[in-house]
Symmetry: C2
Subunit: 417 residues, 2 copies
C-alpha cells in the first residue's frame, strides 16, 4: 500500500464528503421504518411489461447496433424523439447539436461542474437546493453562494444583491443553478414573472442559468409555466432533463439542451468521462417514446403522486400539532414537500427521535450550502404507500409534539414567547 | 448568450481537446473504406438471443428493483459474480468493499483522474498508451510523463529514471498507468518478471499502479501471466476491468478493484458523478454470469479474433514491401497491432493517402503523450471482416510502397542511407 494516501488524493477529492442523505438512509432501512427520506419513484408505475416487449423488438431489429459503442452525443433516434418532445411540450425548436444525452441528470451536473468550475469559483444556488447539485459543484471546488427562497422560489432581490457584490469584486458567477418547477427540496415553483426576472438579471450580469427540470412534467394542479429555456431563446440557459422521475431511474438516462458551443464542450468532456451513454438503454427509451407510451406513463405517475400528495397534505392538516412556526409547503407537483419547524427545534435531533418512532425524513441542512439550516425537513410522498403516508405523518406529528412539550417543560417557552 | 464563453469555462475545460481518433474516424465513414482505425468488437459475437431471454426473466423476477435507483458501489449480485470470477480467473480473493462497478473502464479512468490529479500533477504513462487514458488524465490537468516501451512493454530502466528524477524534485507520480496485457495500442504484453519489477519500483518509490486490463481474457497464444494486482496483494494496485471487449460495450459496464480506502474515495466521487450505474444493465450481466454464459462468449470471441489476427499478420507478411525500418508487433491477444514505419515516413501524411485508397488506421501520435510520434500506426483486427482484412492490408501495403518510392525519387534515400 502507498503511504500517505490522503496526500496522494487531489485537493477536491480530499474535500469530498459522503452524502449525508445516504448515511442517514442507512438508519432507515429497518422494515418497520416508514421513510419519507428517499426520493424514489413509485415502482408500481414502472411499465415493466412494455419494456420487456420493446427490448425483444429492439434486439431483434438492431441487436448488433445497440450492444455496440455509440456516439458520445447520444443516439440520433433518441435525439429526434427529444426534439419532437420539446417542440410539443415546451414549444421550443431544437436541433441535434443542441442536445447531449447523459447518464441521467447527475452526470449533466457533473459535466457542468467539470466544464465551468475552477477551485474557488463562485456558483449561485438556491438555499435550499438539490443536494446532488451541491455535491457535484462542491467536488470541483465551487464556492457556493446561497440565495434564499420565498414561496415563489429563489428571491430575485437577494439574487441581484449577490450578483452586484460579485460584479463589484470584478467577478461573475460561473452559473446560477435553479430548479424552477416543484423544486427539490422545497416543492416550490417559480411563476413566469419570476422566471423572466431571473432571465433579465442573468442577461444584465452576463450569467449562464442552469435550469434543472427533473419534475417539470409532474404537475398535479394549476397551469404549467414556460421553462426559462423557452422564455430565453438566446442561449443564456442550459436545460437539464431526465427520465428518472417520469419513466424510471434504473436505466440512468437524461439529456441536456443548450447553445451548441456549450453542448460541444460538454460532449468533449463526456468523451473522456465515459465515451458514450449506453446504446442499449437509449434505444429502448427511444422506442418507448416513438410508440407514444411516455405520455401514458406520465399520466399514470401523475395520478398516483397527485393522490399521495393530497393524502400527505391531508394527514399533515389532520395530525400536526398547532404550533407557532410550524408550517409546510403545498406544492403543485413533484415528489417533495418541505416542513419548517418552530425555530427552537433542531431537525437533526428530531431525526434520531423520529427513527426511534419508526419514521424518517431528510434533515434540511443537507440541502443548505452553508449547512446551517437547523429547523427544516424534506418529506417525500412518491415512494411510501398511501397507508404508510398517513401512519408516518401520525408518528412524525407525535415526535414533533413531544419535542415541543419537552421544550416547554424545560422553560424554553419563556425564552421565546 | 453570455459573452466570453471561453472565459467562463474552467481551466481544464479550456484545455480539453476533441479526440483525434474521433475526428479522423469521421473521414473513414464512407462504406468503401476498410477501416482498421476503430477499436470496436465484432458484433457477430454478441449474444443477442441470450440477452433477450435474460432481460425477460430479470424483468419478470425483479422489474421493480432493476428499474429503480441502486447503490453507488454496484449491484451486490454482480459484485458476488465478480468476486467468484476473479477468484477463478486470477486467483485473488476480493470482498465487496474492494469493488466499484462503473460505467465501463472509461468512467474508472475519469474517477481515478478526479480523485488523484490536481493541475500539473505528474502521472506516468506508457509511450504510447491508450488515448482514452491520456484524455481522462489530461482533462484534470495531469502532466504526463511518457515511458517508452520495448517488446516487453514499459521499460523499467527508463521508468526508474523518471521516478528518480521526480524523487529528486521532491515529488512522486500520482500513479503509474499500465496496460500489461496486449497493450492498446501496441499489442504488447509484460511478462511476469517485468510485472514484478514494476511492483518493486512502485513500492520503492511509494507509487500507486493503475493496471488497466480490458483485453486480458482475449489471449490467443502463449501462457496467461498473473495480473500485477494478483502479484501484489498489498493494495499497491488499482485494477480496471470492463465487459466491453469480452461481452459487449453497449451496456457500458466495467469495474475497479482495489484497496478499500481507494475504492471508498472513488465511490464518493462517483456518487456526485452519476449517483449509480444502471441497475437494469447490471442485473442483466449478473444473470448472464450466473448462468455461466460469459466464458462461452469469451471462447467464441477468442476464436474469431485469433483467426482474424492470424489473417492480418499473414497479409502483412505477404503484402508489405520489404523496407528497412518497416515492422509490426506480433501480439498474443487483444484487438490491435502496431506498425512502425521507416523514420522518413509520416503516418499522418500517410493517413490521408490511405483514405484516398479506401483504407484507414489510427496515427501513432494519438497515443503519444508528447504527440511527437510520427512514424507509427495502430491497426485493429477485431472489427473488419476476414476478407476486408486481406484487401485492406493490400491497399495499405501499396500506399506504403508508393510513399517509399516517392521518397526515393525525391532523393531522400541519399539522406538516410
Amino acid at each position: 500500500m502507498v503511504s500517505d494516501l490522503q496526500g496522494l488524493f487531489s485537493t477536491n477529492a480530499r474535500g469530498m464528503k459522503k452524502s449525508i442523505i445516504r448515511e442517514l438512509l442507512k438508519l432507515t432501512r429497518r422494515p418497520e421504518v416508514i421513510s419519507f427520506a428517499g426520493g424514489l419513484p413509485d415502482p408500481n408505475a414502472f411499465p415493466i411489461k412494455e419494456v420487456g416487449e420493446i427490448v425483444l423488438d429492439v434486439l431483434a431489429r438492431e441487436g448488433k447496433i445497440v450492444l455496440q459503442y455509440s456516439p458520445t452525443e447520444g443516439d440520433p433516434k433518441l435525439k429526434d424523439e427529444l426534439i419532437a418532445y420539446h417542440e410539443q411540450e415546451n414549444g421550443i425548436k431544437l436541433n441535434p447539436d443542441n442536445i447531449l444525452v447523459t447518464v441521467a441528470s447527475q452526470q449533466a451536473l457533473d459535466l457542468v461542474g467539470k466544464c465551468f468550475i475552477d477551485i474557488g469559483d463562485p456558483v449561485i444556488v438556491g438555499q435550499p437546493t438539490y443536494v446532488g447539485g451541491l455535491s457535484a459543484f462542491h467536488n470541483y471546488g465551487a464556492r457556493m453562494i446561497g440565495v434564499p427562497l420565498d414561496e415563489g422560489g429563489m428571491r430575485m432581490d437577494l439574487l441581484e444583491l449577490e450578483l452586484k457584490k460579485l460584479k463589484q469584486a470584478g467577478k461573475r458567477p460561473k452559473f446560477i443553478y435553479v430548479i424552477p418547477d416543484f423544486q427539490n427540496p422545497a416543492g416550490l415553483t417559480m411563476n413566469e414573472e419570476r422566471r423572466r426576472e431571473l432571465l433579465k438579471l442573468a442577461r444584465e450580469y452576463d450569467s449562464l442559468i442552469v435550469e434543472d427540470s427533473p419534475y417539470r412534467e409532474l404537475r398535479y394542479e394549476g397551469e404549467s409555466v414556460k421553462t426559462i429555456y423557452a422564455l430565453d431563446g438566446t442561449g443564456q440557459v442550459l436545460g437539464l432533463h431526465t427520465f428518472s422521475k417520469i419513466l424510471f431511474p434504473g436505466m440512468r438516462l437524461g439529456w441536456v439542451i443548450g447553445d451548441e458551443a456549450v453542448i460541444q464542450k460538454l460532449v468533449t468532456a463526456k468523451q473522456a468521462t465515459d465515451l458514450c451513454t449506453p446504446a442499449f438503454t437509449q434505444a429502448i427509451v427511444a422506442e418507448f417514446m416513438s410508440r407514444n407510451l411516455l405520455s401514458k406513463v406520465i399520466d399514470n405517475v401523475k395520478s398516483i403522486y397527485s393522490e399521495k400528495m393530497a393524502i400527505m397534505l391531508g394527514a399533515l392538516d389532520d395530525y400536526m400539532p398547532d404550533l407557532a412556526g410550524l408550517s409546510w409547503t403545498r406544492p403543485e407537483g413533484g415528489l417533495f414537500l418541505w416542513v419548517t419547524l418552530p425555530t427552537h427545534m433542531n431537525s437533526e435531533e428530531l431525526f434520531y427521535e423520529a427513527i426511534e418512532s419508526n419514521v424518517a425524513f431528510v434533515i434540511g441542512s443537507a440541502f443548505d450550502c452553508t449547512g446551517e439550516e437547523t429547523n427544516t425537513m424534506r418529506l417525500n410522498f412518491s415512494f411510501p404507500s398511501k397507508d404508510d403516508i398517513v401512519e408516518g405523518i401520525k408518528r412524525l406529528a407525535k415526535v414533533i409534539e413531544k419535542s415541543d412539550l419537552s421544550h416547554r417543560k424545560s422553560g424554553g417557552i419563556i425564552a421565546t414567547p
